[in-house]
Subunit: 159 residues, 2 copies
């Protein structure tokens, strides 16, 4: 394979490489009416997530996405952005709060920020917490959430 | 419609009707390999959720479902079980913790328990927190999670 092959070796991001405080943009998502209804049928069948007319009669005044769907769409973007992270496992999904409804066919931007690093009992792994934020096109915070991952430490160098 | 029609009127569950401390069984779910992979492609594309071989090489030793998928499947059952609850909106998804991996084609039982009731600034609504638990077929706790809902109070009687 030579040089071209060598370039394909992925440089994994380890626990020591994580820098809290930096905001990392992850792109944006949009949910169609059909996607909102399909997700809700499977995972959150409340009337205002399933039906246009029930949405109009609800607190929201229109069909809105499940908060679970908003969280999942945002985490999907985050995981793609952090694909090189050497994750052992997810430990917890931390509290997700919903400040505004997620509306059909609107664009929502996702950004994340590492907020906490903790050792674990296993010295070859650390626990790292990331906070994600979802903003609408006007820049208003729509939702935030957190995830704690167990991340591998950098392998010891052979000397 | 007469008596048969009258019987179809849904009696909504209001904030005052919620009794903390009672365990409410919500049924069980099972996730196929295809469902695990499809969900992960959209919302949590980590190698051990996407690919059998990557799962084998991972901490888990096999393909495992995303924690987000486990949480969503459990909430789907909970929402169906609590369909008569007079929900205004979801306020937060509280911390979900994952103690064991969710494996393909296994049966997981879901139960929920109301744990907290709080007034809100609007006297016609209350905030109610529910904790959900996912157990495997051996009765081992696999995951738990919480949701805080804003629930309508019973309408004042016309006297």
């Amino acid at each position: 394979m030579g040089a071209a092959g060598a370039r394909e070796i992925v440089q994994m991001i380890h626990f020591e490489d994580i820098a809290p405080g930096e905001t990392i943009p992850c792109g944006s998502f949009s949910l169609s009416r059909d996607e909102i209804i399909e997700f809700a049928r499977r995972f959150d069948p409340q009337p205002f997530h399933l039906d246009e007319e029930a949405g109009r009669r609800s607190h929201f005044g229109c069909l809105v996405a499940s908060g679970l769907h908003t969280q999942a769409a945002a985490i999907g973007l985050m995981v793609r952005r952090l694909a090189d992270l050497d994750v052992v496992a997810g430990r917890s999904l931390n509290t997700a709060r919903f400040y505004r409804a997620t509306l059909p066919d609107q664009t929502y931007a996702v950004s994340v920020e590492w907020t906490g690093l903790q050792p674990t009992r296993n010295p070859s792994r650390g626990a790292a917490t990331i906070v994600g934020r979802v903003h609408d096109a006007e820049g208003t915070l729509v939702a935030d959430f957190g995830v704690t991952y167990i991340i591998r430490c950098r392998p010891a160098e052979v000397t």
